[in-house]
């Protein structure tokens, strides 16, 4: 056996080891991240519009104008005078007409009908755009690894939302039960789910806006404390949105128009007039508005604490995100007070709802940047 040097090749036909190439993470199926993000952005914009139109449908008392659930055939509105008259006759069969709107002519009915039809039609458009996008990306195998389930979720939730929408309307299309609007609990469920869908769309857009390797690096810098606090703020804001829906559902925003008092008192008069007691927390206008007010103060106080913590983040983008949350919440607090002081006119009430959407998305953005901070270059330090 001849002596070999330590570093000599053992086998003459052994292949040369190739040097590792960078970008291993992104060599997995990257998919059409940009295109999917654009599709999600379109859905996001449509859901925001849907929330606004839904709010206006509620504020104009138009939600019960279509008394049937026709997901497909309902896409075509009444075309002839006879069809309009038939729709109006169906509306005349419910309590809302008998107790509130006996003064209505066909032209008045058309106004409320178009609001509800527009809201439902927008829902159909959202469903269609989701389906076209999802199945299009699925067929062309453009969905990045691990994203199929995520992109399926908004579609499933959208379908559930349509069913909840009808479940909500069904509570108001009654005769002889004295219901002149939909059940506020169901309205809160409907609005709550809309915000959940919007939240998922926003979160997915944030994720797709960054490369996978960038996200993996950023995750190492996750600011745990700040992430936890922003998650708490998100949940608290969601609760306040649900309380806002309860206020809207029973027109509680118009019951007490003084601030900081309510009817000249700290606590609204007769807060427990409904039997059984627990119903007051959902159906007594004074108490519901009071709870929404107090929750608003507490949410704002917590937001100040979170903001001050966010200001101390090492990352400029994260700091800015928390500044934006605080600014939007301050604006929302002021608009909320103005809303009750002006007895919730449609134009102010809808701004209050729109700013709630803004606050929601900005909290999500701040939370995202706590989990995946944007690396700040040392050069600018």
């Amino acid at each position: 056996m001849s002596n070999r040097t330590i570093f000599e090749e053992v086998s003459s036909d052994s292949k040369q080891q190739s040097s590792p190439t960078p970008g291993g993470i992104d060599r997995k199926r990257r998919g059409a991240r940009g295109a999917i993000r654009v599709w999600l952005a379109v859905l996001f914009a449509l859901v925001v519009a849907m929330i606004a139109v839904g709010g206006l449908t509620r504020l104009t008392d138009s939600g019960l104008s279509i008394t049937e659930w026709r997901p497909v055939t309902g896409a075509v509105p009444p075309m002839s005078e006879a069809e309009w008259q038939a729709e109006f006759e169906k509306y005349k069969q419910i309590d809302q007409y008998h107790l509130m709107n006996t003064w209505m002519e066909l032209s008045d009915f058309k106004t409320i009908y178009w609001w509800e039809w527009g809201h439902r039609q927008l829902g159909r458009v959202i469903g269609l755009i989701w389906a076209l996008g999802f199945f299009g990306f699925l067929v062309t195998r453009s969905i990045p690894t691990g994203w199929t389930g995520r992109l399926l979720l908004p579609g499933i939730l959208g379908g559930v939302q349509g069913a909840i929408g009808w479940w909500m309307v069904a509570s108001g299309v009654t005769l002889g039960e004295g219901m002149t609007s939909v059940a506020s609990y169901r309205l809160a469920t409907h609005l709550g789910l809309a915000f959940v869908i919007l939240g998922f769309l926003a979160w997915y857009m944030f994720l797709l806006g960054r490369e996978e390797r960038d996200l993996m690096q950023a995750r190492r810098l996750k600011e745990e404390k700040l992430f936890g606090m922003s998650t708490g703020l998100l949940h608290f804001a969601f609760l306040q949105i649900l309380l806002g829906a309860l206020v809207a559902g029973i027109d509680a925003g118009r019951s007490y128009t003084d601030w900081p008092l309510m009817g000249g008192q700290i606590f609204p008069p007769r807060p427990f007039m409904i039997e059984p007691l627990w119903k007051n927390f959902f159906e007594n206008p004074g108490l519901v508005q009071f709870i929404h007010r107090v929750a608003g103060y507490l949410l704002f106080a917590f937001a100040v604490v979170v903001w001050l913590r966010g200001r101390r983040s090492a990352h400029k983008a994260t700091q800015f995100a928390f500044n934006a949350v605080f600014a939007a919440l301050s604006l929302q607090l002021v608009i909320g007070i103005v809303t009750v002081m002006t007895a919730a006119p449609v134009e102010i009430a809808i701004v209050h709802q729109a700013v709630a959407v803004l606050v929601w998305v900005l909290i999500l953005r701040a939370r995202f940047l706590s989990a995946y901070p944007v690396a700040t270059s040392i050069k600018g330090h």
């Binding site: 190492r220 810098l221 101390r312 090492a314 002021v334 270059s377």
Partner: protein
């Protein structure tokens, strides 16, 4: 190690606590603002619901705190030099200048809008003017431009009782302006007495305090002049709707003591001052703290006793 992780490790050595942010709002000055605004609110002829009163005082306090934060943001350079202010959050390196600016602007806007909503637009507008006056006219412009800076600063600090009164009534009258005059005319003797035994501080910071620009002799004369005018206004207040026997007694005693102290300061010789470590000046400064508190306390006592037929004339 990535840029970001290096950056993350380069955060301030001493993380700012909630206490540091609170210190930005100058809580000691804020306590004076709260107290005088509360007296203005209570002395007003129109009663307000306790909750509305609480909200009004809270928003006035936040507005005062916002002014303090903006003042610290602008004065960070001189605060670093002066012994008295070195421990403030910005020179201590606990809070960034930008943070003080953000906090000040956010709280200013919020306090003004909320006061307007809780009480009336006039009160909100007056609070906005006060913040503007203190931050822009005093802090940014005149503080470093004139030895009469403390007089202008005194005006800014004297507005709270007027705001409190407006919050309750929605209108103006002579009484809140007499309360304004109390604080306005009290501020120069109070601070100039402090400057007499803290002159080096202002010297180093290059702030044109009267002691620096005109010397101690002139400052002593100014203290006496302002004290005489202050006494006249303080005694006049006793014979208005906010005055009464309690206030008159308090004013007579305190102004006699204050005038006596001012005369002593005016007569003092510099060498004697150095030898006894400014004993008279220090006691005058301590009395000045009590002076304002007791005057406003007497106005408050008159207001609280009025419903029982005991206060007022």
């Amino acid at each position: 190690m990535t840029d970001a992780s290096i950056n993350a490790s380069m955060t301030r050595e001493e993380e700012a606590s909630l206490g540091d942010y609170f210190a930005l709002l100058k809580p000691r000055v804020m306590s004076l603002v709260v107290f005088t605004a509360f007296v203005g609110l209570m002395a007003a002829p129109i009663g307000v619901h306790p909750v509305i009163g609480f909200c009004a005082i809270l928003f006035i306090a936040i507005g005062g705190g916002a002014s303090g934060a903006l003042n610290m943001w602008w004065d960070a350079d001189i605060d670093q030099v002066m012994k008295r202010t070195k421990g403030r959050p910005i020179p201590a390196g606990k809070v960034d200048k930008g943070e003080a600016l953000s906090l000040g602007l956010a709280l200013s806007g919020l306090s003004v809008i909320m006061l307007a909503l809780a009480t009336n637009v006039f009160a909100g507008a007056f609070l906005a003017f006060t913040i503007f006056f203190y931050v822009v006219i005093y802090t940014m412009w005149l503080k470093r431009a004139t030895p009469q800076n403390i007089v202008i600063g005194g005006a800014a600090g004297a507005f709270p009782p007027v705001i409190g009164w407006i919050a309750a009534t929605g209108s103006m009258s002579v009484e809140p302006w007499l309360m304004f005059a109390l604080t306005f005319l009290w501020t120069p003797p109070h601070f100039w007495a402090l400057a007499l035994f803290m002159r080096n501080d202002y010297d180093m910071a290059d702030v044109p305090m009267l002691t620096v620009t005109h010397g101690r002799r002139s400052t002593r004369k100014h203290i006496l002049v302002y004290t005489v005018i202050l006494a006249a206004f303080a005694l006049t207040t006793a014979f208005t709707s906010v005055g009464g026997p309690i206030y008159l007694t308090t004013a007579v005693v305190l102004n006699a003591l204050f005038l006596k102290g001012a005369v002593q300061i005016w007569r003092r010789d510099e060498e004697i001052c150095e030898s006894d470590n400014f004993k008279i000046e220090r006691s005058f400064f301590k009395l000045s703290l009590l002076y304002l508190f007791l005057h406003f306390g007497a106005i408050l006592a008159e207001a609280l006793l009025k419903p029982y037929g005991l206060g007022g004339w």
